[in-house]
Every structure is written in structure tokens, then in C-alpha cells.
């Protein structure tokens, strides 16, 4: 059985204790989306400000508010870091990659292309294309927590849809 240390990695607890990009953004220009995890009651609000002035659109800022467990909060915090400054297509690629990591099916990461975006604070993109987010890998061993980890990401997608 997977131990709790697989779930509660130090990086996760760090993001949980000191969440990055907490707060709200004025809407507009930002857009806002709410997400619920009906299982545990977590509620999250994602604000995203996309600069559409040239071409594809670039994420100027992201803020997250709401309440949730360590996994959903730290995942939201890491998500915010991972997408700020990225273009929308890059963001979508990160979301896809992250959701791939959170998927129970193995062997579905067949789209590991060379042009994958690197993310996060860690920086050594080649080996760890998801940076800090890799710490959330352990969640897959606790299937009921997957929804916690993906909540912020699904809410981000909703915000981008608007």
C-alpha cells in the first residue's frame, strides 16, 4: 500500500501552507470560474487575466480563492505558477499533460513530444516537464484524491472557455 508520505510530499505541504497567487482579480478584464468538488465540498474560484492584444493570448495573471484540502489547495497554487506568462496553447498543453499524469490509465502519455512546454519553479524542464507539479504524482495512488488535485485545473479550463 502507498504510504501517506507518497501523498503529502514536502513540496505539497509547502504550497498548502504558503499558497502562491491567492486572491482575486477584477473582472473584467479577468474572467472568473467556480469549481466544486461534490465529494468533499471543496470550492475554488479561479481568476484568469489573458492578454489578447497580440495573437494567441498570453496569461497575464492568475489568482485563486476558495477553500479546500491540502491537495486541492497546493495543486491550485502550483497551477497558478505553472500558467502565468504562458500562451493559451501552452497552458492547454500543460493542463493536458497534468491531467494525463492524474489519469489512472497507464501508458496514455504517448504524446510526449519534443516541443512540450516546461513549467514551474524547478526549471530543469527536460527531465521534469511538469516541475513542482510532479510532486502530485503520488495522488494517483490515492484515487479518491484525484478529483482534489484536478479541481483547480478543470476550473481553469472553464475560465478559459469563457
Amino acid at each position: 500500500m502507498a504510504g501517506l508520505e507518497d501523498l503529502y510530499r514536502e513540496i505539497i505541504l509547502d504550497h498548502y501552507r504558503s499558497p502562491r497567487n491567492r486572491g482575486e482579480l477584477p473582472t473584467p478584464p479577468a474572467v472568473r470560474a467556480e469549481g466544486h468538488n461534490p465529494l468533499c465540498g471543496d470550492e475554488i474560484t479561479v481568476f484568469i487575466d489573458v492578454d489578447d492584444s497580440e495573437g494567441e493570448g498570453v496569461v497575464r495573471d492568475v489568482k485563486v480563492s476558495g477553500q479546500g484540502c491540502s491537495i486541492s489547495q497546493s495543486s491550485a497554487s502550483m497551477m497558478s505558477q505553472a500558467v502565468i506568462g504562458k500562451s493559451v496553447p501552452e497552458v492547454l498543453a500543460v493542463v493536458k499533460r497534468f491531467k494525463g499524469m492524474m489519469s489512472l490509465d497507464t501508458g496514455n502519455d504517448d504524446d510526449t513530444g519534443a516541443d512540450e512546454p516546461t513549467i514551474g519553479t524547478g526549471g530543469d524542464g527536460a527531465e521534469h516537464p511538469l516541475g513542482d507539479l510532479e510532486a502530485l504524482q503520488g495522488v494517483v495512488k490515492f484515487p479518491v484524491r484525484i478529483k482534489c488535485a484536478t479541481l483547480a485545473w478543470n476550473t481553469l479550463l472553464e475560465a478559459l472557455d469563457q
Binding site: L7, Y8, L13, C40, G41, D42, G68, C69, I71
Partner: protein, 420 residues
């Protein structure tokens, strides 16, 4: 009877034997026993119920109310016996007043839809309370959206009881008062009889959501003076897939049907149909046959122990749990709901330090302790509590003080990880 009287009475029941009736509790994970503290969600099943269902499926399974051969007659009798057992269990005046539904949620929807469509129009008032389960909120919201009825809410006191100060004003002009007999979050036991009287004084129908009450207390729907009562099999040692609605025959008789199809008809023509008498009128289609047999066995099982005994046992466990957890963790633990055990059942929703309930439950799960973490299908209440989740430990007849000790011990582990 006061708490003290109960504690002085000799303990008639051997709870270790009771526990051993539940095969689930013998399961070991990583060599450790499973400590099931999620019975307010759904209860475990005794061997007696499992066996009754298997035996029936293996030797007696046949259609109900449809075919005329002996085996079908015997199955129908067994099904109707379960109805009688349920009627006896809640002291319904007649077994025909017991309707088998799929769960308590369907029972409540049946009333909201059938009774509601017949009796409620624009501006009519339905009174609920702030401690209702979604099952006793959403059906009324649906009706409100459809026909513009007004919902009023009985508020709560600081310790999680109903605040009845304004009850008469709230009920004034109301046609329906639908309320829980026990909160699934706070454990609160509202004064059902009083509430039914108040409803009637205002000319409203009194509908009791007794989902959490019936499994844990001796129930007397007549003493309550209720008009309609909903509850569920799966929370009272019975199988999933079957729920209950009791109602006064006069009401059940006058309401239109909810679900239409076979068994609920007297006649069907190309241009219309007429309904069968109650209870068939509300039991369209092939009913939960095997489930009724299981439920009948569950009722007999609980009757043999005695519901007063069950209540006494759970009161003692609850007192022990309150003492242990508060004694050990003091202000680091917040337990919601009333502290007077006369008005609270064996449900403990709590906040532990600043650790999110979901993380608390994860740490407890590491020791095979099963508690629910979340909104408990009572989001309006959670908002009042200022939380979007709590951890909830709930007791049933198979729990022991050892389970409480295990819970108390395991909470320490959460502190280690989160270092709070």
C-alpha cells in the same frame, strides 16, 4: 427517561456478539481491523440480512403480485411480511400505509411531486429547516422553480438546535412543514412531536425525514402525530435499493400517483388508466423484491436487540467520544451540535486544528478508520457552520469504545504530518 436512568439500567445486550454479526467488521487490511464510523452515511449489514437475501434468491425468488403459482404466492407473502415488519417497527396503524420506494430520496420526491403538484400553487408556502439534507431541499427547489412556491427556513441556535422562537410566524399560512427528525451533520434530535403539533395548528401537513432517526431510535409515527415519514433501508442494517414512505391512508389515498406503470393500475385503456389501491398505487414496476426480504430481516434483527437498547448504546458511545476527544484535544477539536445527549444522536461532525477534513479522513484511513469528510449533502447547513466540510464520525450498534479510542489515537497522526 433521563440519561442517568438509562446508564443505571443493566446492560442487557452483549455488544461484542452484536458486532460479530457483521462480517465486514472482521475484515483486515494490512493485518489491521476496519473501524467503520460512517453509519450515518450507510450502515453495514449483519449476516442475518445477507443470508436472508442469498437464501431467498437461491430458493424462493419469484415475481410479486403478478403470477398465480405457489412460488409467486410465497414470494408475494414474504414481500408483504416485510411490509408488515416495517409497519410494526415504526408503529404504523396499517401495513398498507407503508410504501416501498428506492430510497428515502424517492420517498421525499414522491411527496413533493404527487402531493405538491396537487396541493401547491404560486405563492404557497413550504417550511423547511436549516439543517435539512439535500434530499429534503432539492425536491422543493424543483417544485419552487416549476410553480413558484415560497420556501421558508427554520433557523438554528448557536449549539445547532432548531431555533423555534419564530416558528409560529414561519408556519403561518404554510401548507407543508417538512423537517428532519435527526440531523445527519449535527446529530441534533428536534422535538418531532412538538413540530407536528405546530404544523397542524397552522393547517400544514407534517412530513418527517426520519432517515437518521429510525435506524437509531424506537420510532412511533402515531405518537409523533406525523402525516408522512420517509426513511431508508440501507441506513438501518438493510440492503440498498429500497426506501420507505409511511403516510396516513387518507393522504396516500387522495394523492395522485408519482411513477406510472405495471402494478399501480386498476385498469389501462388506450385513453387513460385508473389506479390500484395504496400501497400498489405508488409501487410501479417490479419492486425491490430481494431488498424487501433483506429489509424485513434487518427489522427483525433490530427488533430482537430492541431499539431502546440501540439508542442507549449509542448515547454511551457518544458521551464517551465527547469526553475522550475533548479531554484529549481540548480546543484543538471543535465538535458541532448540541452537547446535551438527550437531544443528540451518535453523529460527531468535527473540525480538528486547522487540518482540512479531507486530510483528516486521509490520515484516519491510513489506520482503516472510515469517517466521512465533506458537506454531508447539507451545503446550506455547512455554510451556516462557516465550513465547506467537516469530518464526521457516526456510530451504530456495532461500534465500541475501542473504535472511539482508535479514532482519538489516529488523530495524533494528522498533527505529525501537517505540523500544525
Amino acid at each position: 427517561m433521563s440519561t442517568t436512568d438509562r446508564s443505571l439500567a443493566p446492560d442487557r445486550t452483549d455488544w461484542t456478539t452484536v458486532r460479530s454479526d457483521f462480517p465486514f467488521l472482521e475484515r483486515r487490511i494490512d493485518g489491521q481491523p476496519v473501524i467503520y464510523l460512517d453509519s450515518a452515511n450507510t450502515s453495514q449489514k449483519p449476516r442475518q440480512v445477507i443470508d436472508a437475501m442469498s437464501t431467498f434468491m437461491a430458493t424462493g425468488y419469484a415475481p410479486i403480485n403478478r403470477s398465480a403459482y405457489r412460488m409467486a404466492g410465497e414470494a408475494t407473502d414474504a414481500y408483504e411480511n416485510a411490509r408488515r415488519a416495517v409497519a410494526r417497527f415504526v408503529n404504523a396503524p396499517s401495513a398498507d400505509e407503508i410504501i416501498f420506494t428506492k430510497n428515502a430520496t424517492e420517498s421525499i420526491n414522491l411527496v413533493a411531486t404527487a402531493w405538491g403538484r396537487q396541493n401547491l400553487g404560486e405563492g404557497d408556502v413550504v417550511v423547511l429547516t436549516h439543517m435539512e439534507h439535500h434530499a429534503n431541499i432539492v425536491p422543493w427547489h424543483m417544485l419552487a422553480a416549476e410553480r413558484g412556491i415560497e420556501l421558508r427556513w427554520v433557523p438554528l441556535t448557536a449549539d445547532g438546535q432548531l431555533d423555534l422562537t419564530d416558528l409560529d410566524r414561519l408556519l403561518d399560512g404554510a401548507k407543508m412543514f417538512s423537517f428532519t427528525a435527526m440531523s445527519n451533520v449535527l446529530g441534533t434530535l428536534p422535538p418531532v412531536e412538538h413540530l407536528c403539533t405546530a404544523a397542524h395548528a397552522a393547517g400544514a401537513v407534517a412530513f418527517v425525514d426520519a432517515c437518521q432517526f429510525v435506524p437509531h431510535n424506537a420510532t412511533d409515527v402515531q405518537a409523533w402525530g406525523a402525516d408522512l415519514v420517509a426513511f431508508s433501508s440501507h441506513k438501518m442494517c438493510g440492503p440498498s435499493g429500497i426506501g420507505l414512505l409511511w403516510g396516513r391512508m387518507e393522504l396516500l389515498d387522495s394523492m395522485p400517483p408519482f411513477i406510472g406503470g405495471g402494478n399501480m393500475i386498476d385498469d389501462v385503456r388506450l385513453d387513460g388508466f385508473t389506479t390500484a389501491p395504496v400501497p400498489a398505487k405508488y409501487e410501479a414496476g417490479t419492486p425491490p423484491i430481494v431488498e424487501a426480504i433483506g429489509l424485513g430481516a434487518a427489522v427483525e434483527y433490530l427488533e430482537a436487540i430492541g431499539m431502546d437498547e440501540v439508542r442507549r448504546h449509542e448515547m454511551e458511545l457518544t458521551r464517551y467520544a465527547l469526553d475522550t476527544l475533548v479531554g484529549r484535544y481540548g480546543h484543538d477539536i471543535t465538535i458541532h451540535g448540541p452537547t446535551n445527549l438527550e437531544v443528540r444522536g451518535g453523529v460527531l461532525s468535527f473540525a480538528f486544528r486547522d487540518i482540512h477534513p479531507h486530510d483528516v479522513s486521509q490520515v484516519l484511513d491510513e489506520r482503516n478508520i472510515c469517517v466521512r469528510a465533506g458537506h454531508h449533502c447539507a451545503k446550506p447547513l455547512m455554510r451556516l457552520l462557516g465550513a465547506n466540510a467537516t469530518a464526521r464520525a457516526s456510530f451504530y450498534l456495532y461500534n465500541t469504545t475501542d473504535d472511539v479510542d482508535a479514532l482519538a489515537d489516529a488523530l495524533d497522526g494528522a498533527t505529525d504530518i501537517f505540523g500544525l
